[in-house]
Amino acid sequence: MSAVGTIGRKILYLIPVLFAVTVLTFLLIKLLPGDPAVDILGPGATPAAVQEIHHQLGLDKPLPAQYVHWLGNAVHGNLGQSYQNNQSTVSALRQRLPVTIELIILSQLIAFAIAVPLALVAATKPNGLVDRLATTAAFGFLAIPDFILGVVLVFVFAVHWHVFPATGYTYLTANPVLNLKAMTLPAVTLAMASLAVYFRLLRTDLIATLQQDYIAMARSKGLSTRYIMVRHALRPSSFSLATVSGLQVGALIGGTFITESIFALPGVGSLAVQSIYSRDYLVVQGTVLVIAVGYVGINFVIDLLYTVLDPRIRRAGAIA
């Protein structure tokens, strides 16, 4: 199957997924016990005011029409507004998205910067001391939930040693140094789970690659181990790493909810959690929509990149 055909098929597949995701997000607010209009207006609302809100939200129409109305608004950048402070959901998201994106990027930089070299060293000598220590540590890290790691890091680095602040956020544009300092602990918290996953995956793939004939060929030519690892083994071993780092985005988004709450970062995750606390359902719905669509989009792009990068998959048209 040609590359164009594969990509076309993936786009066709994207449409029902996006449709289902938006329908589900739309239905979330329908599951709500009670009436959102009463939530917005408070218990003493007059029937006329409730009707007015129903009309505003399009709740007086049949369900499919409501969905179309809601989706149309969403596409035009209108996700409703907070009934707490009247800020529109879109402007709240625009303000908070950079914080979350910075957090995710920093965490992934940390994860790759440690996982890749560590996997290279570990795979050079499987079952050696480094390999066994790193494999065991990775297994342990996978069992540490992010909220536990965050609390432990706060205890060690903020309470005990006063190296990094536990809370207090400075915007990157205001003071980059303070920003990075405030971001260090959250980014490390978020990085650890990905780090362990990436390390284990790359190590296994590297060890498999090292069994190939062309590696034996390179060895027999007298190339140094380091050269072979970096130039011959790393690239063919990193395809599943690329896919998994895409799948990891979902776990990371969940992680930002918790991490941002622990460290009081003004990101999308803490926006969602706070709106849930204050029962600000339109903001919750809008945030979930943006997160879910973003997640589907990111995975789509990574899937596409993967198809383009690896000729074997392009030809086989596998991984649907």
């Binding site: 997924v17 979330l28 220590l133 939930p145 205890f155 309470v159 060890i207």
Partner: protein
């Protein structure tokens, strides 16, 4: 060079190593010892022992001579562990030991019941999708993919928020979320078995589809799935922990590990144990489930149990 397990979890142990190694690298030795080719190793049984202990304490919490977990002012607030209160008291003067044990109840109920839901519903869907690879399978897997398209914690938060905070709803939310990934795994092992000779033989003998699925395929799919299920129980415990850490699982004052970690967070400078004790218990429990599940998986499938 020994063959690594494909998922890179653990490496093969060198011959002759046993579980008795102690010392600084105790944990490393435990991991290595637990993955010997024959026998499950002492580490596996330590994990099983810990899980058994947690389950027993959770089940018989009511029969144990414990303080009430929710009674405030049993002692002064933030009494350090070691005295009359074995594990100290929290900020409201509640007994930490009682709260830890009752918290285990929440974690175990959520962990096992939600995965039971996932196994029954997801397992059935996976068997059907794997056996009938045609239109039915495509439709089922399409729906599964849609659910996998949602970030799990976000969906769990949304479900619990909209259904209301209660133990039952947390189980429903996490159980619902476990359906899609479990269906995927069961489908792939069903596909692997449905091409095997004994299935073809059964079909040649005139067995009906229902019989083939339940009598020939199911018994082969179950053992590796149960090993996975242990790891999934750990995932469910962590998910519940995350929800209760955010204050969105069972309602206070009901004790839950995540909730305790969150409540103790404020007192890290004065009384770190309020947060760190439940954190340690939860970590060990999750590690034990992961490790036990993983050892079983490696043992059941020497090639490492492809997902």
């Amino acid at each position: 060079m020994p063959a690594p397990s494909p998922d890179g979890l653990v490496s093969e142990a060198p011959a002759g190593r046993d579980g008795q190694t102690t010392g600084v690298l105790a944990l490393g030795a435990i991991v290595v010892a637990g993955t010997r080719r024959r026998g499950l190793g002492i580490a596996f049984w330590l994990c099983v022992g810990w899980i058994g202990l947690v389950i027993l304490l959770a089940v018989f919490a009511g029969a144990l001579p414990l303080h009430s977990p929710d009674a405030t002012g049993l002692g002064p607030p933030r009494v350090a562990p070691g005295g009359r209160f074995w594990l100290g008291t929290d900020d409201l003067g509640r007994d930490m030991l009682a709260r830890l044990i009752y918290g285990a109840r929440v974690s175990m109920i959520v962990g096992f019941s939600s995965i039971a839901i996932g196994l029954v519903v997801g397992g059935t869907l996976g068997l059907i999708a794997g056996y009938y690879k045609g239109r039915i399978g495509t439709v089922i897997m399409g729906v599964v993919d849609v659910f996998l398209a949602f970030p799990a914690l976000v969906l769990a938060l949304a479900i619990v928020t909209f259904l209301g905070q209660s133990l039952q709803n947390v189980v429903i939310a996490i159980g619902f979320l476990s359906i899609a990934p479990i269906a995927r795994i069961i489908r792939s092992s069903t596909i692997a078995f449905s091409e095997r000779e004994f299935v073809i033989a059964a079909r040649a003998l005139g067995a009906r589809n229902f019989r083939i699925v339940t009598k020939e395929i199911l018994p082969n799919v179950v053992p590796p799935t149960l090993a996975y299920a242990l790891v999934y129980v750990a995932v469910a415990i962590v998910a519940e922990g995350g929800l209760s850490f955010l204050g969105l699982s069972v309602k206070p004052p009901t004790a839950s590990w995540g909730g305790m970690i969150n409540e103790g967070k404020t007192f890290l400078p004065q009384a770190p144990y309020i947060s760190l004790l439940p954190a340690a218990v939860m970590f060990i429990t999750v590690l034990a489930f992961n490790f036990a599940g993983d050892s079983l998986r490696t043992r059941l499938d020497p090639r490492g149990g492809a997902a």
